[in-house]
Amino acid sequence: MFEDLVKTTAYKKGMPHQRFTFVPHPVWGKPASVHREYIEGKDPITGKPVMQEIIEALTKPLTDEEKKTGFLERTEPRIVGPDTPENLQQLFLKNGWTDGLPIVLPTEKKVAEMLKKTSHRPDKLVGKMRPSPPHEAWEYTVEKVAINAVMAGAKPEYFPVILAIASTGITSLFSSTTSFARMVVVNGPICDQIGMNSGMGAMGPFNHANATIGRAWTLISRNLSGGGTLGETYLGSQGNNLSYNNVCFAENEARNPWKPFHIQKGFKPEQSVVSIFTGWGITHSFGSAKKEFHQQISSLLGSFCPYSSGTSVAGALVLVDPLVAKDLKEVEGFDTKEKLSEWLYKNTLMTVEDYWNSGLVSTFTLPQAQLGVEPFASWLKLPKDALIPRFLSPKEINIIVVGGETNAFWQAGDFRYIGSASVDAWK
């Protein structure tokens, strides 16, 4: 199952002939007796006995190829074709350069039109992106981002927003077997200038800017970091339908009774900003009619999985319609988003026993606790029934206002805020 991933990773690390032995999958969750059978059995790929293969890997003299030094060079031609538009569509599809849907072919003329909407030179470096930490990072220029923006069907006036997303270097197709999703929320004057939707149906397929900006991020993630190749640079077992346009929408600032999200993160109202989130899914619980909105939200967030990996932690993103936001502020007394986050943080506690039995915690957090990293090291010493926070801090719980006030509806996802980037810097 992981043969392509293992071999291409070794290739990209400079050891294309690294010696591997495979055993059946999965190893996880199997008793020691099954592991013993794997060891005494055969490599499912080569058919050789596992231990014989391992011993040979350690003792068989190196070949000339395995001793080689120097560099492996890979180049891509700038121009594709000439060919008919139909054949080029097929070529892009066959090469894995699309999201499976038809694209706008990136002719020099269309790309030049896109490039007119930024003051930056086509050869300016925008960023580096990798499908996930073990993979190599690729660099890309303004022109390469423009090519992918054209393919997504974006209008040239959306280009600064797409460049801002690309400048974060964050892939929307993060390679994990757990099928991550990414989200991009846009704030500031650019939203109205390019006609983004923050109201009715903002998170659905009803707005050209929302749809194509989000789609452009997926194409950028495939083509500018080498991501999205199944079995090599994308391993999500089920995939994630949100990855088609990465939940791209604008916050409803006009109907938001609180500070807009970008101002919470230190930007000014007149600045235009993209903010990136990562998670797995969005869900809803109507909860009890007798409960107020903040209580309903805490009930749902109280089911989210905790974890801390050292580089990331569990987060939550609450997406509230303006009607819910108004009620939370005027009836339920949360006059800032921060106060609501604080209350949710304190009211989604869990027992120490449940925490350490959580799947991601045992993989990511327990090794940190054993190294003495706080607060996890101290939590290991607590009694099983002690209560500890599900989220590491209130800052990991964010609130966004979106929707058209046709229903006092809210949703929440296990999405963590990763960072923001200026759109204005790319005009």
């Binding site: 996880w28 592991h35 391992i54 003792t59 083509n223 050292g310 090794p367």
Partner: protein, 123 residues
């Protein structure tokens, strides 16, 4: 007869013209586009470590990167060596930190005290 020949020649000329224009149009319909792929970095080749003549009387580190199931798997492998190749000394170690973290202290220990390493990645 001469009239029939003239008609035939005219039809042949018309057909050839149509074929020529069609071919020209097909040629004109071809376009070039820009390549959407980013620049792939060059890869410095890393020569692999020299191999051992034999594993007998050697110390082999069995390292678990701490992905699920790796520890149990390697402890079974340690047991296999003890039973089937008793002259091989095996040392089991769990890499420090989560699976994505580096562990330079362990690599230094293996360089100093070990002869080879088998790393298992569970899942």
């Amino acid at each position: 007869m001469r009239k029939r020949m003239s008609w035939l020649l005219m039809w042949m000329f018309l057909l050839a013209s149509l074929l020529f224009v069609g071919a020209l149009q097909a040629e004109e319909a071809k376009i070039t586009v820009l390549n959407p792929r980013g620049q792939t970095p060059s890869i410095p080749l890393v020569p692999m470590a020299p191999r051992l003549d034999t594993l007998n009387d050697k110390t082999i580190y069995l390292v678990d990167v701490r992905f699920e199931g790796g520890k149990s798997f390697l402890l079974e492998m340690k047991d296999w060596f003890a039973k089937n190749m008793p002259k091989v000394k095996t040392v089991f170690r769990e890499k420090a930190g989560p699976y994505m973290d580096d562990d330079p202290k362990l690599w230094a220990e293996i360089k100093e005290k070990g002869d080879a390493m088998i790393m298992a990645i569970g899942h």
